[in-house]
């Protein structure tokens, strides 16, 4: 199906043709980048969503457990809430480390090769 507007082109870098994009999409190099991204981001998304839902369900239906005092006036509910903050910070850091080490070099190599027209 043809689109009514062509994709806007960039002036400074060469825009590869559709055939080049199709060839790249099917290449082993791109396949590895896609796998490296998806196998990290997808399971992790499911994991943190499940962890958040578990926390919501505990807050709703496990009042006694959540009210257990740990020390002073700090109870399980507060500790788990703060744990959500902590895991959010850690996951953001972990993903960024993965992206910098495993995704960026591959992505940059493909981009410069394709835009350079090799």
């Amino acid at each position: 199906m043809a689109t009514e507007t062509p994709p806007p082109s960039k002036t400074q870098a060469r825009l590869p043709s559709t055939e080049e994009f199709v060839a790249e999409q099917e290449s082993a190099e791109f396949g590895e980048l896609r796998r490296s991204y998806r196998s990290f981001a997808f399971p992790l998304t499911i994991a943190f969503t499940a962890w958040y839902l578990l926390y919501v369900l505990l807050s709703n239906y496990a009042g006694d457990f959540m009210g257990t005092k740990l020390f002073g006036n700090i109870n399980v509910a507060l500790a788990l809430g703060l744990a959500q903050f902590l895991t959010t910070f850690l996951i953001a850091w972990w993903y960024s480390r993965h992206a910098a080490a495993k995704l960026d070099p591959k992505a940059e190599a493909i981009k410069s090769r394709m835009e350079g027209g090799a």
Partner: protein, 541 residues
């Protein structure tokens, strides 16, 4: 007469407080107008207007994203909810924060790589342009208007309360003032001006929160357990105040409602158009990732501080006083400032005025972002690509965006003035639910599901949108309860206030159904372009 005013009058200095608050408001407004004019002079082409020239650094954009996201609902709403309902107020903020991981892992970078100015750029990338852009534009405008309306009405309530304005004319005047300022920011300053306003606001908000947090902790010798204990005692609810259940745990319906809200918060953020367009203001996907990381750090730190503010207010102020001032607790943070400084002292007056000015700045920065998102989508998606079929030049497009800003601003002033006495707080949660039901499924399918096609995109956008809005229309948010928008009539049959638990799965499901119902084959070449481009940045703007 509200209790803030009573407290102020008791201090015998109401007019001085008011003068100080107005002075600080005016200083902020004057400073932002200078920034706007300066930014306007540097706005020369469409990329400047829509995307601030794409030259902001990751840190600058991270600040601006935080400024765009932390609305009055975050600052005043969460602090107030904690002050009145204890732990359940805190639950709210966790959903708002965790949501950023969806944006970080799945949306920010691919969107930056494959889009140009709007969310519609990505949704329509490999689809038939006109129908999908119309749908994306519609959903962008609906989400932004709901959000905008809640902010405008909130501004009316808050500012009238702080300044002691009770007349209808005064409240309408404030809504109109907010509306006119946001039109000026966006038409003159474009994305550059809006970004700077949001950065200034984020700094003010964070500095204000740090100051109040420090003062609260100082009162309790930095003993958090002591702070929590005093809050629990003073609230009159004892240890239940520190446990979940006071707000959402009352009935099995309210528990279900909380699950629904939680899902909408976590999945909604990555589908909010005014947040998504911020990723176009940085040069690369890597910078977009770093800006989300900054935002997560700043927003997370801020929500941790709202814990101290909320429990601090609960510990230091009688709950009756907070409720008398505003039933939802929205003035708990300004009241806390007054009490921390000393009700009878000048220091208390200065703190109250500063925190009030910060709240006002917060509202202005958020409404500017929302107006920009909706007028950009109108001009770029609907005017340039649907009405002009892609034949409009840059100048015409930016002119259309400026005109749309004036139009959307005028509509929001009108609606905000009409809604000034309605309870519209539920609209922010509704905006998240619509974003999660209509926008997120379409974004994810477009990026990651090869088979997805135009029909699927239309089904998921319109299906999610209509389900979410329809359910709210027949929910207690609109009718049938004392807290409803229209408390005197009752046509509600949907028991929950938040539609997410139904409308989000419906949005995802309809995307699949619509895809398979159509004989249209997906455009394999365009998907190859989109996929390679979204992951590598090849050909990105």
């Amino acid at each position: 007469m509200s209790s803030v005013q009573t407290t102020l009058l008791a201090a015998g200095e109401a007019s001085e407080h008011r003068g100080l608050i107005i002075t600080l408001f005016s200083v902020f407004v004057a400073a932002t107008l200078v920034i706007t004019v300066w930014a306007g002079r540097q706005t020369k082409n469409a990329a400047d207007f829509y995307a601030g020239g794409r030259q902001f650094t990751a840190f600058q954009n991270g600040l601006a994203v935080s400024g765009d996201y932390m609305s009055a609902a975050s600052f005043l709403g969460i602090a107030g909810a904690i002050a009145l309902a204890g732990y359940d107020g805190f639950l709210y903020s966790i959903g708002f924060l965790v949501a950023w991981l969806v944006a970080l892992l799945l949306v920010a970078e691919p969107l930056r790589n494959s889009g140009r100015y709007t969310m519609g750029d990505v949704l329509a990338y490999r689809m038939r342009q006109r129908p999908v852009r119309t749908a994306a534009g519609t959903s962008t405008i609906v989400v932004s208007i709901f959000y905008l309306l809640a902010q405008m009405a909130g501004a009316g309530v808050l500012v009238s309360l702080l300044l002691g304005i009770t007349s209808d004319g005064g409240k309408i005047g404030i809504v109109a003032l907010v509306g006119v300022l946001m039109i000026v920011y966006v038409t003159i300053g474009g994305m550059k001006g809006t970004t700077w306003v949001q950065m200034v606001k984020a700094v003010l908000l964070i500095v204000g929160a740090i100051l109040l947090t420090f003062l609260v902790l100082l009162k309790f010798n930095f003993n958090i357990s002591d702070l929590l204990g005093t809050a629990a005692d003073n609230s009159g609810k004892g240890s239940a105040f520190l446990e979940p259940g006071l707000k959402y745990g009352l009935t099995s319906t309210s528990k279900l409602d909380f699950i629904s809200l939680g899902i909408a918060l976590v999945l909604g953020t990555a589908g909010l158009p005014h947040i998504l367009i911020r990723f176009y203001t940085v040069p690369t996907a890597k910078a977009a990732r770093k800006s989300v990381n900054w935002a997560i750090g700043l927003i997370g730190a801020f929500y941790l501080m709202t814990l101290a503010l909320g429990f601090g207010a609960a510990a230091l102020i009688k709950p009756d006083e907070i409720i008398a001032s505003n039933k939802a607790g929205n003035t708990a943070a300004p009241l806390l400032a007054l009490h921390l400084g000393g009700v009878d002292s000048n220091w208390g007056a200065v703190l109250l005025a500063s925190i009030s000015a910060v709240a006002f700045a917060t509202i202005l920065a958020v409404v500017a972002g929302l107006t920009l998102a909706s007028s950009s989508s109108f001009a770029h998606d609907i005017y340039a690509n649907v009405i002009k079929k892609g034949q409009a030049n840059e100048k015409e497009e930016v002119r259309a965006a400026r005109l749309a800003t004036v139009g959307i601003g005028a509509v929001s002033i009108l609606l905000g003035a009409l809604a000034r006495d309605l309870n519209v707080a539920g609209l922010v949660a509704l905006a998240f639910a619509v974003a999660a039901s209509a926008n997120l499924p379409t974004i994810l399918y477009s990026l990651f599901w090869k088979r997805f096609n135009t029909s699927g995109a239309l089904w998921s956008i319109y299906g999610g949108l209509i389900t979410a809005v329809g359910l709210v229309l027949f929910s207690p948010v609109v009718s049938g309860k004392e807290t409803s928008m229209f408390p005197d009539v009752d046509f509600h049959w949907f028991p929950l206030e938040n539609p997410g638990i139904i409308s989000i799965p419906v949005g995802f499901l309809l995307g699949v159904v619509g895809t398979y119902l159509s004989k249209e084959e997906p455009d394999a070449g365009k998907y190859a372009e989109l996929e390679v481009r979204s992951l590598t940045g090849t050909g990105a703007h």
